[in-house]
């Protein structure tokens, strides 16, 4: 019987492969869609990266590694790499700790005002990350409120450099850690902790022997993701790095300041190695290990700590909240101040400027984001549908390529785009198209991740029931699948829009005289020490984002914030 089964199964396997191919060819629209998507992914994701590599190893038409040798041979030249890695590790640790604090307080310590803390813990996601650098300078810079006014210039907190960056990036990126850890804590089956108590463990022992070990995959994910986010961060270091050079900024300066394309490209490649490694580790190793509860439903918050600990956790959360509110509050205050550091009379002139002089930045940004976001959303959904529901050659590759833009720092992508598209037949530099394309392909993973998660939630029986009652695949997709993934679609749209509005590290390479973005304008203002104007712009930007998110939320119901996070911003 076994031998028979063997022969039959070999026939079965090849029959199945032919059947799959036959099925795809029978649906020309499907085959065409796959073809177009593969071509686009190659052209707008892979090709720019290839050009970056090329630029770093080709000189005068010859293959050479001397650029790398120059960059890595002297200790002085190796500093940006060392600094970036150090900063990344510190931010990963600090951010994960803060994120775990908030997540644990909400999921296990039953602190009051949970909704409030949730909002605080996720607010930094919607603001451009470098707003926090701006706040740091306003408070603790040379003309800072605390350093100048309160300490009369006697105390120098060294805000420019490692210390400032750790502070600012921790606050900017801990929401990602928070969302990961909250998800992990909610997924732990309550029965596990309860049975530990039942067997006589103290609450501390339960934490140490059950909760913490089960949180480890989440902790590891969080550390890796925050490491990548810190390495990829550009907006904060360009303001705050001072004498602490980091790779992302150095790459930018080599290209724009020194017009050293090969040096810039090489630095970008060097930046790529740790980020890609961390991303792959997270996706293919840590991300696979999860201890999910059998029922798959998130369990509600419980009280697993004694009252002392609960008060302590509450206190820490409040302290953290205080710091965050202080920073953002400073920006709000700063936007109304005539001249920071000198004249603190309140005025509206900066806001007036935002709309008069800055009006075209607003207009450009909104137009470009509004064009890119729907395309991103639809493309993301199509890719998700293909990946989850269809079988074809190269499916895994398509999935990975579309995720690549998460792993690759914006700096690398930005450099890639100006190298790839600055000559015919694809002369796109200086146009709106290049910015829109950058937006689309940087954010497509957001849409497809949301789509994949939503599609996997749909019980197969629901689609089978529709087929059973007479619906063909097209009708099933339109009347059953599509309505059920709509919330995920809008959630993807919302997050894509936020990422468009707060982007800086890639787009800074492709803006031009004709098309400029608010984030770039803000950076320019900060560099000119026009801090109050920068603050006003920042707040208008945040306000726009909040309004659009509010509109989407009202339109759809709940925007699932649990699907946001995990990805490097900027």
């Amino acid at each position: 019987m076994g031998r028979e089964a063997g022969l039959d199964s070999a026939r079965e396997v090849s029959w199945r492969q032919m059947d799959g191919l036959r099925r795809i060819l029978r649906e020309p629209v499907l085959a065409a869609a796959i073809g177009v998507i593969v071509a686009s992914l190659f052209l707008f994701v892979i090709y720019p990266l290839v050009r970056v590599f090329q630029m770093s190893v080709v000189e005068d038409g010859r293959f050479t590694l001397h650029v790398y040798r120059d960059l890595l041979s002297k200790a002085f030249e190796r500093r940006p790499l060392y600094n970036s890695l150090l900063l990344g590790v510190l931010v990963a640790l600090a951010g994960t700790a803060v994120g775990y604090l908030f997540a644990f307080a909400i999921a296990r310590a039953d602190v009051p005002w949970k909704r409030f803390f949730r909002v605080i813990a996720t607010f930094p996601i919607i603001s451009p990350p470098f707003v926090l650098s701006l706040a740091a300078i306003l408070m603790l810079g040379r003309k800072g409120f605390i350093t100048r006014m309160l300490f009369q210039g006697q105390w120098d907190p060294h805000i420019y450099g490692l210390r400032g960056l750790v502070l600012v990036e921790t606050i900017a990126f801990f929401p990602t850690a928070f969302l990961i850890m909250l998800g992990v804590l909610q997924a732990i089956d309550p029965a596990l902790e309860e049975s530990s108590l039942n067997l006589g463990a103290t609450r501390w022992q339960v934490f140490r022997t059950v909760t913490l070990p089960l949180s480890v995959p989440g902790l590891a994910s969080s550390l890796l993701v925050l490491f990548v986010e810190s390495l990829a961060d550009f907006g904060n270091p360009i303001i705050l790095s001072g004498n602490f050079p980091v790779l992302s900024v150095q790459a930018y300066l080599h290209i724009t300041g020194m017009v050293d394309f090969s040096g810039g490209a090489a630095l970008a490649v060097i930046l790529l190695f740790p980020t890609l490694t961390a991303f792959l580790l997270q996706k293919y190793w840590v991300g696979r290990k999860s201890y999910v509860t059998v029922t798959g439903k998130p369990s509600p918050a419980r009280l697993s700590v004694d009252p002392m600990t609960r008060r302590l956790l509450l206190g820490l959360c409040l302290a953290m909240t205080g710091v965050i509110l202080l920073l953002y509050g400073t920006v709000v205050f700063g936007s109304f101040v005539t001249l920071w550091g000198a004249n603190y009379t309140l005025t509206l002139t900066h806001y007036v400027s935002v709309f008069h002089i800055g009006g075209r930045y607003l207009r450009d940004t909104l137009i470009l984001a509004s064009v890119a976001t729907p395309v991103t959303g639809i493309l993301g959904m199509i890719i998700a549908f293909l990946v989850v529901r269809k079988q074809f050659v190269g499916k895994g590759l398509m999935d990975l390529t579309s995720m690549l833009t998460f792993a690759v720092p914006g700096t690398v992508v930005g450099i890639g785009y100006i190298l790839a598209f600055n000559e015919p037949p694809l002369l796109l530099t200086g146009t709106a198209a290049i910015i829109v394309l950058l937006f689309i392909f940087r954010n497509v993973p957001v849409g497809s991740r949301a789509g994949v998660a939503a599609l996997q939630q749909i019980d197969k029986a629901i689609e089978e029931a529709a087929t059973n009652l007479g619906a063909g695949s097209g009708r099933t997709f339109v009347t059953i699948t599509l309505p059920l993934i709509t919330p995920a679609f809008f959630s993807g749209l919302a997050y894509s829009f936020v990422r468009c509005m707060t982007a800086i590290s890639a787009v800074i390479f492709v803006v031009s005289g004709k098309w400029n973005l608010i984030t770039v304008a803000i950076l320019g203002l900060v560099e000119n020490a026009d801090l109050s104007q920068a603050a006003a712009f920042s707040l208008v930007l945040i306000a726009i984002v909040l309004v659009v998110l509010g509109l989407i939320q009202v339109g759809v119901g709940r925007v699932a914030t649990s699907q946001m996070g995990y990805e490097p911003s900027g």
Binding site: M1, A5, D8, G470
Partner: protein, 362 residues
């Protein structure tokens, strides 16, 4: 309405995941389901019954064999063109549609005019006892109500064949009993050919015109409930259905329609049922066919090893020689209450014995 279903040599082989080999889920199943009857595929998990059902529905393509509905060969017809409505285990209700739209879905696809849809949906709601719920969402219904919506949705399209994939397994015990009676009533009233999959014996016995017992991808026996229960043809069927005592023995001689069977406790005469002298058999003795009397009475002498009180009956474990027999005593309040250690006499009628082939290691 409806038509007969015929399966001819149906086979299904699944490729295992990377390196774990292939699985033969269905290994040559042939079956005839009479028009208007309800046939149950009964067996333990993994026996292939759901795979057979899904091949009838079209969700799996057979590796070998054919499926016929009436005279039409439907083996390769796509699942949305077969008119074989299915009631799924998790109901598969469309969560974003109201009850009315769920039930009317199949009719909308067939482009039935709106007024007619209205009439048919409302009469179907009455038929399944869900009047007044048409505007609710599935999430606002109880399990039993959701089940009825699934049933209504399947019936309204007037399918040729109705398929059930363990539809009652998510309901609590009492509801299950109630629902299976309703399903049976409806099916008989509408005389739709139905194929029902379950692992629950009581369900199978209550609902079916014929039961198909399956094991490891093959059909073990097809028959009515009494046939399956009283005259199982293999050890698997005898053991799977109901409880039984199995005594190993050998046929010594056959005399007309009686056989002399030698077992450890001595010799008994059982209905011959086609067995011949020298064959190895299992003697099947059902617990309810055994009576207990005072020590010294009956065929064999034994001792009570354990007693389990279930309210309407008591199960006794009685040790006879080296065997442990399970004995069921009904009407316990009228009989003597026995306790562990009591000696008893074991009484049974030879006519209630049944022989099943015994495989002997070579």
């Amino acid at each position: 309405m409806g038509a007969a279903v015929r399966l001819a040599g149906l086979r299904k082989v699944f490729e295992g995941r990377s390196g774990s080999g292939t699985v033969v889920a269905v290994d040559g199943v042939s079956l005839e389901v009479e028009d208007g009857s309800l046939v149950t595929l009964l067996g333990p998990s993994g026996c292939g019954k759901t795979t057979v059902l899904r091949m009838i529905a079209g969700f799996e393509t057979p590796t070998g064999g054919e499926v016929y509905i009436g005279d039409e060969r439907i083996t390769t017809v796509p699942p949305n063109k077969r008119r074989t409505s299915m009631v799924f285990q998790g109901y598969g209700l469309f969560p974003h549609m109201q009850v009315y739209d769920n039930i009317g879905y199949g009719l909308r696809i067939r482009k039935v005019p709106a007024a007619e849809i209205r009439d048919r949906v409302f009469s179907m709601l009455e038929l399944v006892g869900l009047k007044g719920t048409e505007a609710r969402l599935p999430s606002q219904l109880s399990g039993g109500q959701q089940q009825r919506v699934a049933l209504a949705r399947a019936l309204i399209t007037e399918p040729r064949v109705l398929l059930f994939d363990e539809p009652l397994s998510n309901l609590d015990a009492k509801l299950r009993v109630q629902m299976r009676q309703e399903i049976r009533r409806l099916q008989q009233r509408l005389r739709i050919t139905s194929v029902y999959v379950t692992h629950d014996q009581d369900e199978a016995m209550t609902l079916s015109d014929q039961i198909v017992v399956m094991h490891q991808g093959r059909v073990e026996q097809v028959g009515t409930a009494p046939e399956i229960y009283n005259r199982p043809r293999t050890l698997f069927v005898a053991d799977f259905i109901g409880k039984g005592n199995f005594l190993a023995g050998t046929v010594r001689a056959v005399d007309g329609d009686r056989a002399e069977v030698e077992i450890a406790e001595g010799g008994v005469r059982a209905p011959a049922e086609g067995f011949r002298a020298g064959e190895s058999v299992w003697l099947l003795l059902r617990p309810e066919a055994i009576g207990l009397g005072p020590a010294g009475t009956g065929r064999w002498q034994g001792r009570v090893a354990a007693a389990t009180y279930l309210g309407s009956e008591i199960f006794y474990e009685v040790t006879v020689g080296t065997q442990n027999l399970l004995v069921k005593v009904g009407h316990p309040h009228g009989a003597i209450a026995l306790t562990q250690g009591d000696p008893v006499g074991v009484i049974f009628d030879e006519g209630s014995l049944h022989l099943v082939r015994r495989e002997v290691a070579a």
